[in-house]
Structures are given as C-alpha cells and as structure tokens.
C-alpha cells in the first residue's frame, strides 16, 4: 500500500490542474510563504472526507474554490483526486489501484467518487479507514497539540490508533 499521486484543480490556489507524484521514501515540499504548500495538505484532507471547515482554515465550501485574482477568473469547480497502489488490498476494495475523488461547486454541492463511480461520503470514510487516524496529517502550528490536550482528550488518540 502506498500513495501514488495527488491531482488538484480549482481547489484553493491550485487553479490549473496540478499532478503531484509520490514515490518511496521522504518527499519534501518547499517554497515561499503563501505559495500553496499547506493548501496541498488541505487538499488531501478534503478528498479524504474532511468535514470541518475550521480544520481547512475557511468557513464555507465557496472559500475552497480558487477565488481568482487580478489576472485570472475564479474557478467554478474544485476537484481533488488521490490515488493509491492497493495491490496488498489494505483498502477493502477489489482494485489494484484506488482513486478517491471529491468535487465541489461554488454553491456548496459536494460529490464523491471511488475509481470514477459515484459514492456517498460515508463510503469514502469507510474505505479510507485503514489509512490511519487523525494523526496522519499534522497541521502547521499544531505540532504539539498532543501535549496541550488534557489526559482525557489524549486517550482518544490511542483509541484512533487501536
């Protein structure tokens, strides 16, 4: 099981269709402030079914679509696809390759797909469960969240991992 690629279009600053391939080992993402690095992490959360706007640093779906700039029109649609090599069948789906896709319009309608077949949000959440819990994406500035939690809240991390 490994991550193969991420495709982003119309989501936050990724107005143009962008493809990021992931290989084995460590992948580093670098660039100036405001260039879009954390937006990549938001795209992964979003396609995996994130429902909390606060976690995505915005207040509504409309703010996730490329809002345009002085020289470029806003996007009418945001779409993110995340593709996995599933030869070991870690994900409970009978495909060697699994792609999760999420699409949203400015009006706020969300659509979900697994290998281009339309599914519901809960299908995405169920299928992606083996990929690990909330701790697999550590947001900027929230590095030491585990230490700021009260002991009772921290136990939930372990229940996630169990």
């Amino acid at each position: 099981m490994h991550l193969k690629r991420l495709e982003i279009q119309g989501f936050k600053t990724f107005a143009s269709r962008t493809v990021i391939d992931f290989r084995h080992g460590v992948t580093a993402i670098v660039g100036p402030n405001g260039s879009g690095k954390s937006n990549i992490s938001d795209a992964v959360r979003w396609v995996m079914g994130e429902q909390s706007f606060a976690t995505l640093r915005c207040k509504r779906t409309e703010e996730l679509l490329f809002s345009g700039g002085p020289r470029r029109a806003p996007a009418g649609l945001a779409e993110v696809s995340l593709t996995f090599d599933n030869s070991d069948r870690l994900l409970p789906l009978d495909f060697d390759e699994v792609t999760f896709t999420r699409r949203a319009t400015r009006a706020g309608d969300n659509e979900y797909f697994i290998n281009r077949a339309k599914v519901r949000l809960r299908d995405i959440l169920e299928a992606s469960e083996p990929l690990g819990g909330s701790y697999t994406i550590i947001n900027q500035g929230l590095v030491d969240t585990a230490l700021t939690l009260r002991p009772e809240e921290r136990r939930r991390l372990f229940e996630d991992a169990a």
Partner: protein
C-alpha cells in the same frame, strides 16, 4: 474494546520511551494511564501514585506524558521549551506509527522550532521509518530537506495560482 485500547497503549508506551531517547539523544520519558480517583501525574510533576500496573481495575480516564530531557530533572511538561515540546510530540507520533504503521503521513512544518542538532535526529528518525511510511514533509529547513528522495518546489504565479515543479536536491543547494 477496552482490551484493544490497553494492548495498543502498552505497545505505544514502549515505543514512546525508545523514540523519545532517540530524538533527544538521551533522557527518558513515559506514558502513564490516569485512572478514576488518581491525582493527575502531570499536576504532580511526574511522581507516580500508581502501584502495580496490571492489577488496577479502575476505569482509565486518560493518558499522561512524563518527559525528562537529557541532563534535566523530571518536571511538568508545561515547562518544556518549544523545541522540546516538538520533539516530545514527534516521539509520540513515531511511537503510534511504529505500532500501527500508516501508509503515509503529512508533516506541515513540524520542524519549525527545532535547532540544528535536533533537526538532524528528527531527520534520522524519519528516514528510519520511511521504509514503512511515506512521509511528506512541508519544510523550510535545509537539514530536513536532506532526508528527501523527492523534492517539489511550490511557487505563486502572477495569476495568483500555485505552480509545482519537481526539483533536484543539488539544484536547491545551488540557489542559496
């Protein structure tokens, strides 16, 4: 359910002690269960009120962290420095990943508070784990970048849109 939690907890607790010492280059740390009726360890600066671990049948209410960086005395984790907190949180993350390896993990500027020698140990720990877990690190730090076998540079175009280019490690070094 409670069984699985306890088994997971014990496995993570063992890995946490090891990861902590690896990341700090020394020192010790533990995870401890807080049970109904206990005073919080974190409030008591790490002095254990528990007796034998296995026979305590009271319900578990939480998980406490006791951390003692090298050369220092055990204290409340709130007194830890910014970099020490980062490393302690990293030790916990790595411990969880060792027990339950996720296929991938995204770290967004997790190294921001680390000094040079801690970045080095953090990088080594990531490399060691990168067999089983694909790490995607967003970073400004040259020491962390050295761990990368794939490197992407993101930039903002004149059209207010992001661009991604694939970089070679040698290229990045030359630019500075």
């Amino acid at each position: 359910m409670a069984e699985r939690f306890l088994t997971t907890f014990e496995a993570v607790a063992v890995e946490f002690e090891r990861s902590f010492t690896q990341l700090f280059g020394g020192g010790t740390a533990q995870l401890r269960l807080v049970r109904e009726g206990d005073d919080s360890q974190e409030a008591n600066n790490g002095h254990s009120a528990n007796g034998a671990f296995d026979f305590d049948k009271r319900p578990v209410t939480g998980v406490e962290i006791i951390a003692r960086p090298p050369g220092k005395r055990s204290q409340n984790i709130s007194l830890l420095s910014g970099g020490e907190r980062t490393l302690t949180a990293a030790a916990l993350l790595l411990a969880i990943l060792r027990v339950n390896p996720s296929p991938f993990c995204i770290l967004d500027e997790m190294d921001a508070a680390l000094d040079e020698s801690n970045v080095g140990r953090f990088r080594e720990a990531l490399l060691e784990m990168s067999e089983r877990t694909q790490f995607i690190v967003i970073t400004h730090n040259r020491g962390t970048i050295e761990a990368a076998s794939t490197l992407y540079g993101i930039s903002m175009g004149d059209d207010s849109a992001s661009r991604v280019i694939s970089l070679k490690l040698e290229e990045l070094v030359e630019q500075d």
